[in-house]
């Protein structure tokens, strides 16, 4: 004789763990108590249905994609370690090229960069409303808004002499990733953090990656001839969702 509840008997029977006494008690209940029969049929249906659902093989590109992301993280972690504490990060892999370009770029940076980024009041003191205001002589080429998961992004592309500046306003409720893929003829020369800062920055040839959470306002300077005619592919990832768009001239 068992005093187990009907639930315990039924689920033990279907789990295959019922003792003979429990099995017999279940049979008795089903034979004498019509109120539990429908429940029994429902539970049985659930068990049988669940047994029919096959395991699904993960997509073939899943592992390569994971490992690419992991290797990118390692590179980012290594470069972040090398430049820890530096608020304005310059693509160190391009150090030599940057040094040679510095003389030409200095004029651009001094005269144009504050206007384009809105950084008129000194670093860290920028009024929020000034961030997206085009400065004189800076022509807005394109603007794009994306959303993925809890992240939203507005990015504005502004032309400057011998380059473009991507002005970014982004917000994310959790970890998010923003990637700007650009032509290799462009060079990501610097990142200006205006409010909030990326958790991690990755600058590699043809790509700028920013990881962030919360609010982030920054500007990325890309230099190169005909920069304003080059498309920039923007990818926003957050919470397992991905959103993409293209800034500038779209690929033909």
């Amino acid at each position: 004789m068992t005093h187990d509840s009907f639930d315990e008997l039924a689920h033990a029977a279907l789990d295959g763990t019922a003792t003979p006494a429990q099995r017999s008690a279940l049979d008795d209940r089903l034979a004498t108590d019509s109120s539990v029969r429908e429940r029994w049929l429902d539970i049985q249906a659930a068990y049988r249905a669940l047994e029919q659902v096959p395991k699904v093989e993960p997509p073939l590109d899943l592992k390569p994609s994971i490992m690419r992301a992991v290797h990118a993280e390692r590179r980012v972690a290594a470069s972040a370690g090398a430049s820890a504490g530096v608020r304005e990060r310059v693509g160190r892999a391009f150090g030599l090229r940057l040094a040679s370009a510095f003389a030409a770029g200095a004029l651009v940076t001094v005269l144009v960069w504050p206007l384009v980024t809105g950084d008129r009041g000194g670093y860290g003191n920028l009024p929020a409303s000034g961030m997206m205001m085009p400065g004189p002589g800076a022509a807005t080429i394109d603007r794009l808004s994306l959303a993925a998961g809890t992240a939203t992004l507005t990015i504005e592309l502004v032309a400057i002499p011998h380059g473009v500046v991507a002005r970014i306003e982004a917000r994310a409720g959790a970890d998010a990733e923003l990637v700007l893929d650009h032509e290799a003829t462009l060079a990501a020369e610097s990142l200006r953090e205006i409010e909030g800062q990326p958790l991690q920055v990755s600058i590699t040839p043809g790509s700028v990656g920013l990881e962030f959470a919360g609010e982030m306002r920054c500007a990325v300077l890309l230099q190169g001839d005909d920069a304003s005619k080059q498309p920039i592919r923007v990818t926003l990832r957050a919470g397992g969702m991905t959103s993409t768009g293209v800034l500038g001239q779209r690929p033909r």
């Binding site: 639930d7 689920h11 429940r39 049929l41 429902d42 539970i43 049985q44 249906a45 659930a46 068990y47 049988r48 249905a49 669940l50 047994e51 029919q52 659902v53 096959p54 395991k55 699904v56 093989e57 993960p58 997509p59 899943l62 592992k63 994609s65 994971i66 490992m67 992301a69 992991v70 290797h71 993280e73 390692r74 998961g149 809890t150 959790a174 970890d175 990832r237 919470g239 397992g240 969702m241 991905t242």
Partner: protein, 181 residues
């Protein structure tokens, strides 16, 4: 060296060995993908979630405490990510149509595929609390005690949730014309 080969792999991965981490991806990508798939009902979301989970695992490996079981830790991360995703995601009614198709199928396979869609649809109608115990028990074949460890709840609670979840799932399936008969 420890007696547990997996722990050795984890320790190597903790020290930044990407090859060791790759071995963990090999070992767990299938189960985590299926876990995310059954929690979200959508293959693309499951793929993205699985990638997100592994990245989180990579970033947080240093905080993993080897006194606990590794799979409990990564299952918990996967469930959290899936639940967060589902909470801010689309209405469940859209999910049925996005289940994995298995290509051109003969009639039996079409029937099986439709059945799977109904079952996943019914599963998505359950609360996340009920869905997770069903998924862990029936798709991951975990014991009650293992589920209790992953969800940090008493084994007794696992059982009672599972009883209710199966009952509700059976009712939902009956409403869809699927019975045990």
């Amino acid at each position: 060296m420890s007696d547990d080969p997996e722990l050795d792999v984890i320790r190597r991965a903790q020290s930044g060995d990407a090859r060791a981490f790759e071995a963990l991806v090999d070992e767990y990508q299938g189960v985590l993908y299926n876990l995310a798939l059954r929690m979200t009902g959508n293959p693309e979301d499951a793929r993205d979630l699985t990638q997100t989970v592994f990245l989180k695992v990579w970033r947080n490996l240093a905080s993993y405490d080897p006194r606990h079981r590794f799979y409990s830790w990564i299952y918990r991360i996967t469930l959290n990510e899936s639940l967060n995703f589902v909470q801010r995601s689309r209405p469940h009614s859209e999910l049925d149509e996005r289940l994995p198709a298995t290509g051109a199928e003969p009639d039996d396979d079409v029937h099986a595929s439709e059945m799977c869609e109904h079952i996943q649809g019914a599963l998505m109608e359950l609360t996340a609390e009920y869905r997770e115990v069903i998924v862990l028990r029936h798709f991951q074949q975990l014991a009650y005690q293992e589920i209790a460890e992953i969800l940090s709840i008493p084994e007794k609670t696992v059982k009672s949730r599972l009883y209710s979840a199966r009952q509700l799932l059976g009712e939902r399936l009956r409403q869809r014309g699927i019975t045990s008969a």
